[in-house]
Amino acid sequence: MLRPFRVLEPSTAGEAAAELGRLGERAKVYAGGAELLLLLRHKLVQADYLVNIKRIGALDKITWDGGILRIGATVTHHRLEKEPLVQKYLPMFAHAESQVANLRVRNQGTLGGNLCFNDPHSDPGPALLVYEASVKLAGASEERLTTLDDFFVDMYATTLRPDEVLTEVQVPPLPAGFSGAYARVHRFQRPTVAVAAAVKIENGRLDNVRLAVGCVGPKPQRLQELEAKIRGISLKDAQRVISQSGPYFMKLLRPVDDLLGSADYKLYMTRTLLARALEEAPNGDRGAKSAKGD
């Protein structure tokens, strides 16, 4: 049984933000409910009001404006894995979305909800960091745009203010010549370690590269320092650098032991999956073969 709450159904994002501002801590944004209803049931979150944002028409759209794919906050994971525009412009992201939990969760859970919860064990975050995505946050009277990298603060923490609603995720395709890969190991239908890579190979060398890792520590991370180090060298050399970067991963990723794996295991798999993703990325925009672990 869920503790009784009331549902409000505003018709614009501004109205939703105003309600959130008025009700403060007593209200939570409700979209798919995949995470929120779980937390309410386990009494990890309390809410007297759910502000259902699914009646805000504009939030369930996916549009291509010629340079950026705009994904409404209430678009579900299942729509993202199937949507031709996503498959065409963001194929690695489409693959990452197809890996989210199971079909029931993908039918219900939304991209906006996923990013706002910032659950450390999640697929979309690391993939979107490699695309350098941004999120649009609406307050009662104004909107702001922030990079996803800045949006993620810590485990379950983002820069979203209590009186704001995430309305749109803006994702530019990878630049010309890049191709991507997404690789993960998982247990209990959540990733234990997830890595996303995008590479541009020229004359057998990594002309350009973007890397991100999720699930190891509190939040998904771009690996900019490592990217700079392996830019311009061969794939084999890059893989050697990665295998020798234990201390760097330790410091940046802040690995934690949890139900899905020990910190040591996650660090080991981070290096393994990064090496694998780098190898797979030039062959196309799909994901690297994932290891199973259920």
């Binding site: 939990a101 079909l103 029931r104 039918n107």
Partner: protein
């Protein structure tokens, strides 16, 4: 339902109108009632099982507008104006669904607790793709746990029905 105008004193109720297994149902329910509670407690349809309550095990799987959902984590009021299919509606009278027949032929179960959920998930998969490969079946069914370990027989059952459909 907008603002708080329709909120009764303590609880907010919702005038739900839903079609369950082909029959329409109209009545008031609290907004926090899950679809699982609605089906089991209000309609007495206990074939849908309550188990992990975390969207992991799949025992509570039902279809809403042909899409598989975890009824334990889905608010019943969201099904307003929609069509819900639970295990009780899978057969037509005495005529079992081909999936049910295949599960019986192949013994796609042991204790049977997860079976309603397995069948409903399989139904959703076949509605979406009538002739999936073995790999697609395994991938699609990965959110339905069977602690007896009937997985090979479950997969074989679905493959069999997929083959039958493909031949038609």
């Amino acid at each position: 339902m907008s603002k708080e105008t329709e909120i009764s004193e303590e609880q907010q109720t919702f005038a739900l109108s839903v079609i369950v297994n082909g029959q329409s149902w109209n009545g008031q329910i609290p907004v926090q009632e899950t679809l699982l509670e609605f089906l089991r407690n209000r309609l007495g349809l206990t074939g849908t099982k309550r188990s992990c309550e975390s969207e992991i095990c799949g025992a509570c799987t039902v279809l809403v507008e042909s899409q598989a959902v975890s009824s334990c984590n889905y608010l019943a009021y969201e099904a307003h104006g929609k069509s819900v299919l639970s295990i009780e509606g899978l057969s037509v009278g005495d005529q079992l669904d081909p999936l049910q027949e295949a599960f019986i032929r192949n013994m796609g179960f042991q204790c049977g607790f997860c079976t309603p959920g397995q069948l409903m998930m399989a139904k959703a998969l076949l509605l979406d793709n009538p002739s999936p490969t073995r790999e697609q079946i395994v991938e699609g069914m990965n959110g339905n746990i069977c602690r007896c370990g009937a997985y090979p027989a479950i997969t074989a059952s679905i493959l069999e029905v997929a083959g039958l459909t493909a031949k038609k």
